[in-house]
Symmetry: C2
Subunit: 188 residues, 2 copies
């Protein structure tokens, strides 16, 4: 059994993604997603607040994983090294499996203002959570905010690069390399 | 006559801001904004697509100013210097006048998911436009994207710092200093 078939949440995600790819995001209803998954609308709304949220189902677990990794980093690790390691390793553990979907999902998100807004707020919330986790480690607020933003930028741009290659290459390596490129861009 | 009273768009902006501050964003209607401004709902919709957009009235002119400044920078200026100069100087010319409003407006935006999403997409669009303008100058796409993100991060975090001080201090200086702090955070 694939991970998609394992539970109702996963079946709804799979059904939604398939329908969005086939017909475009705007034209698909929650009723159609539920029907495709062989479930009811009520079951859909037990799992997801709306038809946007089904595309971001992994975001809470990813954020929690990153925050836990920041908290668990050795005390003598610099803030930026702490953040990029947390992002790269959690991405490798939780997101790399979506290789074949990553580009199509990214293109789908880019096709809709509604989805772009939701995606951007997830990234902003992630940056805020990372900044707070750095604060817990005693990093000053100004440095924490900027380090978190830099890390999340390297992660999102790196993830896009990886998605552009349809998930070829090692996601953590691509994220780390993107931070190196960001550093080069900002110090030139 | 203050700049707010000079035209219908400005009067509607002033009325909306006042009402949002008084009663919170969610509880205010377009009809009430128009009434406060002594104008009709039809006039409101000639100027703004919805009650969110009235808070971002300056964004298109700001983006156009930044893009023009990137295009006009001397050919031998580095990408990051080009971007931060364009952002800092355009901010100084167009946004510094909003000193007394900046913090209240920022707090208002932070109070609403709807407004946060709109604000984030404006920043993302600004970064994309800056990256495209760097591309026109012959900067490679990867560097252009990361440089634009770094610059917009320095600008948005710097703007927040300036707003936290209720507009005290020189906005372009605060933005440039924030880029220096970002560079320090990412190279530590």
């Amino acid at each position: 059994m694939s991970r998609w078939e394992a539970d109702a949440g996963g079946r709804l995600q799979h059904a939604a993604m398939s329908l969005y790819f086939e017909r475009g995001y705007d034209d698909v209803t929650v009723a159609e997603i539920a029907e495709r998954a062989g479930l009811t609308k009520r079951t859909f709304f037990r799992h997801y607040a709306d038809k946007r949220e089904v595309l971001f189902a992994g975001a809470p677990a990813f954020q929690a994983g990153v925050v836990a990794a920041v908290a668990a980093a050795p005390a003598d690790t610099s803030p930026i090294a702490t953040v990029i390691t947390a992002l790269a390793e959690t991405a490798g553990a939780q997101l790399a499996q979506y290789g074949e979907w990553a580009r199509a999902r990214r293109d789908l998100v880019e096709s809709s203002t509604d989805l772009r807004e939701r995606s951007l707020i997830k990234s902003a919330d992630l940056a805020a959570a990372v900044a707070a986790a750095l604060g817990e480690r005693g990093v000053a607020p100004g440095t924490a905010t900027l380090t978190a933003h830099a890390g999340v930028t390297a992660f999102t741009v790196g993830y896009d690069r990886w998605a552009d290659g349809n998930g070829a290459g090692d996601l953590p390596t691509v994220v780390r390399r993107t931070l190196g490129d960001l550093r080069a861009a900002i110090t030139s």
